[in-house]
Subunit: 251 residues, 2 copies
């Protein structure tokens, strides 16, 4: 939570292509002022894999969004049971305007670079800039849909369906990120341990391992390595999710 940021990007440059907030919030007919105002309260910080970005209960000094890497959003019960409630990929928002204390843990799964805005000034800007709040609303409604889709996975799907759902979501976002089509043969890294996957899916790590290897044995996926997946039969993977069509999933 300190400000000893290792700046990977120059926060003074006018042309910060990497910052999703700006990219999304600032449109052609905005005043240049707005850009400059966001610029002033912005900084970048990079976190090491496994590092806690935010602990539940922390004072929220900033909000921001993921520029590179993967972070997890999760809750832990006092007896250690953990549930991931969000997977934060590049362009995803971190924190919540108006919230002083964090209610979830945020942890870097890989090396993560965050584009951060000081919370209070950001809230002030939010009140002044209609485009920014419109974009925030759109983003939070998308997240809400994604969370609700995930509730179906958690509440009603069996282990195999959960794994298939997880893989198809990761594959989809990965493809989207690299602007590549998603098809048979597409491959990608799972940036999470089996345990983190289990925490996302409401399973144990042993069950995750068994089901991944079952999907491999059945020729739905291939494993280049333990964390590198190739989708052999995409249509089949979609069937295995238990969803009616390929459309549903948001995240």
């Amino acid at each position: 939570m300190d400000e000893t940021a290792s700046l990977k990007f120059d926060s003074n440059t006018k042309s910060c292509a990497q910052c999703p907030i700006k990219k999304r919030a600032v449109c052609a007919h905005c005043e240049m002022d707005e850009l400059a105002q966001l610029e002033e309260i912005k900084s970048y910080k990079t976190y090491a894999p496994g590092e806690m970005i935010i602990w539940t209960g922390d004072d929220m000094s900033f909000v921001g969004s993921v520029v590179t890497g993967v972070a997890t959003l999760s809750q832990t019960m006092e007896d250690g049971r953990r549930q991931m409630v969000g997977l934060l990929l590049p362009s995803d928002f971190v924190g919540r305007p108006g919230r002083k204390k964090a209610v979830f843990d945020v942890e870097a799964a890989t090396e993560v670079t965050l584009c951060r805005f000081k919370r209070v000034p950001f809230e002030t800007l939010l009140a002044k800039l209609p485009h920014l709040s419109a974009r925030m609303l759109e983003m939070s409604l998308d997240e809400l849909d994604a969370a609700r889709e995930w509730m179906l996975v958690l509440g009603r799907k069996n282990a195999r369906e959960k794994i298939a759902s997880f893989l198809s979501i990761i594959a989809r976002r990965e493809a989207e990120l690299h602007k590549e089509p998603l098809r048979d043969g597409s491959e990608f890294d799972i940036k999470l341990t089996r345990e983190a996957m289990a925490d996302y899916l409401g399973l144990t790590l042993e069950t995750v391992s068994r089901q991944i290897n079952a999907l491999k044995k059945d020729g739905v996926i291939a494993l280049q390595s333990k964390r590198h997946v190739q989708i052999v039969d995409f249509a089949r993977l979609m069937m295995e999710t238990g969803d009616d069509d390929d459309g549903g999933m948001v995240i």
Copy 2:
């Protein structure tokens, strides 16, 4: 989805206390114009218990909010498995600005009165009225938190903890609604069937029945009737949820 509304409230009156959108969105220093503009696109409609308010895939001609009654927001898999993803109580928002087709079912659990706004004009207003979009953002962030809290319940809690969590949430919202304190002896109606509870909790109706009666046998709750619960020992009920403190739960 038709407009054959049975108007319980006069949509022409200037003093519609029941409409949560207005109550929340319109503040003292807003122009009177804004009120009038919302007024113009507003109507009320009442739905019978069990009636579908929105089917997944329907064209969304309106957004709005619950004035009275309880509605459920849910997804159904083609094999019939169902997961409730939200419980809509008075003041809760229905629909999503910018969304043309519904992605969830909305069903009246009791008789429900909705305050509805035609979607497209509402979106136009949203772009013009900063207070309205700020309120919408706040509401959707609250819902997002609630959905994420519920993911912990679905993914990591056992049946008894799920039931305790459900009862404590209902009790809390009921108390809040009637502006009464929540304490030992508080009582309320569960407005859902055992099956609807099961769909909310990711359980079967038999398990819901067994666990409710187990909590009764253990003196945590008492049942005045099958749907009317008295909380005998509130602190104990909170323990049974498995949460560390009484604070967490949103919805």
